[in-house]
C-alpha cells in the first residue's frame, strides 16, 4: 500500500473513484495505514500470533453461534430436540455445532497460551498494566462463555455441569445465594435457568467481550508492543518490522492452522448429546467441561471437605489466585522482563501449569475407577 505509486497516468476507473469518494469522507487510507504500520520491536514472531488467533476464534464462534440460533430454541421442552435436530436433520448442522463446541475449547487453550506468553515475556509490566487487567477480565468472560454455553443443549451433561457449577457459586460469601438464585431464576434449575444462560451467552457476554476486546487492543496499541525481552535497542531496531506484512502473514498462517485443527476435531469427534436433562442422573457421572476438570478434581480433596473447605477450594483459592494475577503488575515492579532472570515467575508458572495438568489427568483417571 505504501509501495504503490499514488499517481497513475490514466484517468481513475469507476472503482478507484468510489474508493477515493469514500476515503475522502472516512479517511480509510489513513486508518488502514495506522492499523498496518505498527512497528514490531525486534521483528515479527510466531509467539505473537496468539492474540490474533483468539480474535479469529471468537469471530468464528460468533458466526457459528448465529447460525446455530437459526434452529435452536431456548426452552426446556424444545432445547434438546432442536439441538438434536441441528445434529441429525439440518444439512451440515452437526459440523457447525461441533465447530462451535471445539471452538470453545480452542478459545480456552488459546487464552492460556496467550496469557502464558504475556506472563513469560514480562509484557504485563509497566506501561502495560491496564492491557493485562482488561485481558484478565476477558479471560473471565471466556470462562463464562464456556459455562453458560454448556447448558444450552439441555442434555444430562449440560444439566449436571450447571447444577454443580451454580452450587459452587452459591458458596461465594454474602452474594452467593442471590447470585445462584439469580442465575437459576429460581430455587432449582429449570426454564428460567435456560432462558438466563441463553441471554447471557448470546447477548450479554458477546457485547461485553466485544467492548473489552476493543479496549484491550486499543490499550495495547496505545502502549505499543513490548517486543522481545533480550537485545539492545540497536539490535531490536535492526530487526524491527511493521505489523504488515510479516506479522500478519504469521497470524494468518496460525489462524488457518487453528481453523484446520478445529475442523478436524469437529470431523473426528462430532458432538453427541446424552439423554435429555432431568434431575435424575441415572447412570451418568456428572463432570464439567475438561477445562474445569482440575477445579472439579481439586474439590474432591479431603482438605476441601466441609463447608469451610469447600469455600476454600471453590471460591477462596481461585479468587485469591485471580486477585493475585490482577495485582501482579503492581506487585512485580522490577523492569526486568527476561524470564530466565525472573526465577520466581518461571517456577511459579511451571508449578501452576503442572498442578493444572496433574489435577486434570487425575480427574480423567478417576473416571475409570468410577465406571
Amino acid at each position: 500500500m505504501n509501495g504503490s505509486s499514488p499517481h497513475t497516468p490514466n484517468e481513475p476507473n469507476a472503482f478507484e473513484k468510489v474508493v477515493a469518494f469514500v476515503d475522502e469522507r472516512v479517511g480509510l487510507k489513513t486508518i488502514q495505514a495506522k492499523v498496518l504500520n505498527e512497528p514490531v520491536p525486534g521483528g515479527s514472531r510466531w509467539a505473537y500470533a496468539f492474540g490474533s488467533c483468539l480474535l479469529f476464534i471468537f469471530i468464528m464462534q460468533v458466526v457459528t453461534g448465529i447460525l446455530l440460533m437459526f434452529y435452536y430454541v431456548p426452552s426446556i421442552d424444545h432445547a434438546y430436540m432442536s439441538t438434536q435436530y441441528i445434529i441429525h436433520e439440518v444439512d451440515y448442522g452437526w459440523f457447525l455445532l461441533s465447530y462451535h463446541f471445539w471452538g470453545s475449547s480452542a478459545m480456552v487453550v488459546m487464552v492460556f497460551a496467550h496469557m502464558s506468553q504475556v506472563f513469560l515475556w514480562g509484557a504485563y509490566k509497566k506501561p502495560r498494566e491496564l492491557v493485562w487487567l482488561v485481558g484478565l477480565a476477558l479471560f473471565g468472560l471466556v470462562m463464562a462463555f464456556g459455562f453458560t454455553g454448556y447448558l444450552l443443549p439441555w442434555d444430562q451433561r449440560a444439566y449436571w455441569a450447571t447444577v454443580v457449577g451454580v452450587e459452587i457459586m452459591d458458596k461465594t460469601p454474602i452474594i452467593g445465594d442471590f447470585l445462584a438464585r439469580f442465575l437459576k431464576g429460581g430455587p432449582t434449575p429449570g426454564q428460567m435457568t435456560l432462558s438466563r444462560f441463553f441471554v447471557i451467552h448470546v447477548m450479554v457476554l458477546p457485547a461485553g467481550l466485544m467492548g473489552l476486546a476493543g479496549l484491550h487492543i486499543f490499550l495495547f496499541r496505545k502502549a505499543g508492543p513490548a517486543g522481545p525481552f533480550r537485545g539492545t535497542p540497536e539490535q531490536l531496531k535492526a530487526k524491527t518490522d511493521y505489523f504488515f506484512p510479516r506479522q500478519i502473514w504469521k497470524d494468518i498462517v496460525a489462524m488457518a492452522s487453528v481453523f484446520l485443527i478445529i475442523c478436524s476435531l469437529a470431523f473426528i469427534e462430532p458432538v453427541v448429546l446424552l439423554e435429555e436433562a432431568t434431575p435424575d442422573p441415572g447412570d451418568y457421572h456428572p463432570e464439567p467441561e475438561w477445562y474445569f476438570l482440575f477445579l472439579f478434581q481439586m474439590l474432591r480433596l479431603k482438605i476441601f471437605s466441609g463447608e469451610f473447605g469447600q469455600f476454600l477450594g471453590a471460591i477462596a483459592i481461585p479468587g485469591a489466585f485471580l486477585a493475585f494475577l490482577a495485582a501482579l503488575p503492581f506487585l512485580d515492579r522490577s523492569p526486568e522482563r527476561d524470564i530466565f532472570k525472573r526465577p520466581l515467575a518461571l517456577i511459579g508458572w511451571i508449578v501452576i501449569m503442572a498442578g493444572i495438568l496433574l489435577f486434570t489427568v487425575s480427574a480423567i483417571l478417576n473416571r475409570e475407577f468410577l465406571d
Binding site: 504500520n37 429460581g186 430455587p187 428460567m192 505499543g224 456428572p286 471437605s305 468410577l370
Partner: protein, 314 residues
C-alpha cells in the same frame, strides 16, 4: 533555542538551504536527522544527522558543522524509505518529539465566551443522566428477580411401594415423576429419584437420635413429622455436597455397601452419615409417609447443597 521547520541552514562558508523535514527514530523517539532542501538545487533534499547541527542562533537559522562541500556529501533523501507519522502507529511518539511548532489556536466561539458556569452544566448533564437511570434500577432489579424466590412446594408425590425394599440397611432407589409448573410453561413432568432404606433400630437411632423429625413450610408451620421409630427412611437423591446424584455401591473398603457420589467422591453410610469425602453434612431425610398397603409418598423437599445446616430451597 528550537529551530523552526523551514529554518535556514548555514555552513561556515555560506547558506546551503532550509530544513524541509525531520526524521525521527521509531524506538528512541528522538530526532535523528534533519532533511535540508538545497537552495536552488532543483529541490534536492539531503539528510543530515542531527549531531551535525552546531548551533541554533535563532528560530530561523541553524548552523551546520563543516563547509558547503561537507554538506554536499550527505546522502540525498530517498522518500520511499520513509513514511509520515500519520501513516504509522508508534505509541507515545508525540510525547517525546521535541518539534513544537507552537500552540495552534482556534478562537472560542463568541457565544461560549459569556458562559460562566461550565462545570455547572457538566454536573447537570450527569445529574439528568442519573435521573434517567436511577428510577430504572428498582423496576429492572424486580423484573429480573421475579422468579428467584418461590414458596415451598409441600405437595405429596407417590414414589412406589415399600415392599420392594427387602433387606435392611441397604439403599434402594425409587424413581418417580413429578409435575413441575414454572411461570408460563405448561406443566413439565420431570424425573427424580429418592433412596429408601429399611432401617434397623440402630440406624433409626443414628438418624433421628430418638427424636421425631419435623418439617416446616415457609411460615414455620409443621407440615409433617417423621416418627423417630419409623422403619423406612427416604433420602433426597441430591448429594448434600454439591447437588449431584449419588448411588448405592459396594466397594473394596465398604463391602456391605455405601452411598457414593461419583462427582466429588463423598461416601455416606446407610444412615446417611458422612464416612469419607468432602460432604459437609449427612444425607437429607425427606418427609415420608407409608400407607397400610405400603405405598410411599414424599414431599420433594430440596435443601441447599454444600452447607453444614439444612437450608430449604424447594
Amino acid at each position: 533555542m528550537q529551530p523552526k521547520i523551514t529554518a535556514n541552514a548555514r555552513c561556515v562558508d555560506g547558506e546551503v538551504g532550509s530544513i524541509a523535514k525531520i526524521i525521527v527514530d521509531p524506538l528512541s523517539h528522538e530526532i535523528s536527522h534533519v532533511v535540508i532542501r538545497e537552495r536552488g538545487g532543483q529541490g534536492v533534499e539531503r539528510q543530515v544527522p542531527i549531531d551535525q547541527i552546531q548551533a541554533v542562533p535563532n528560530e530561523e537559522e541553524v548552523l551546520l558543522q563543516g563547509s558547503t562541500d561537507t554538506f554536499r556529501q550527505w546522502p540525498v533523501l530517498n522518500r520511499g524509505d520513509y513514511v509520515t507519522i500519520h501513516e504509522v502507529e508508534i505509541a507515545h511518539l508525540e510525547d517525546h518529539l521535541h518539534v513544537a511548532p507552537g500552540e495552534i489556536l482556534v478562537p472560542y466561539p463568541r457565544l461560549e465566551q459569556a458562559v460562566p458556569r461550565r462545570s455547572f452544566f457538566a454536573n447537570m448533564t450527569h445529574a439528568i443522566g442519573a435521573l434517567i437511570a436511577l428510577p430504572l434500577v428498582f423496576p429492572v432489579l424486580k423484573y429480573l428477580m421475579q422468579p428467584m424466590y418461590r414458596p415451598f412446594d409441600n405437595t405429596w408425590f407417590p414414589v412406589g411401594n415399600v415392599r420392594k425394599v427387602k433387606k435392611e440397611n441397604i439403599g434402594y432407589q425409587f424413581k418417580y415423576t413429578r409435575g413441575f409448573k414454572e411461570a408460563f410453561m405448561p406443566e413439565q413432568h420431570i424425573e427424580k429419584n429418592i433412596w429408601v432404606v429399611k432401617a434397623t433400630p440402630a440406624v433409626q437411632q443414628a438418624i433421628y437420635g430418638g427424636k421425631d423429625r419435623k418439617f416446616y413450610d415457609d411460615k414455620g408451620n409443621v407440615v409433617w413429622v417423621n416418627k423417630a421409630n419409623a422403619t423406612h427412611i427416604g433420602f433426597s437423591g441430591k448429594c448434600p455436597h454439591l447437588g449431584c446424584g449419588y448411588k448405592w455401591r459396594r466397594t473394596k473398603n465398604y463391602p456391605d455397601g455405601v452411598f457414593l457420589c461419583p462427582c466429588h467422591l463423598s461416601i455416606y453410610d446407610e444412615a446417611g452419615k458422612v464416612l469419607d469425602g468432602p460432604a459437609p453434612r449427612p444425607l437429607d431425610v425427606l418427609p415420608l409417609q407409608v400407607n397400610a398397603v405400603g405405598d410411599m409418598k414424599i414431599i420433594d423437599v430440596e435443601y441447599k447443597a454444600g452447607v453444614k445446616n439444612q437450608i430449604r430451597l424447594l
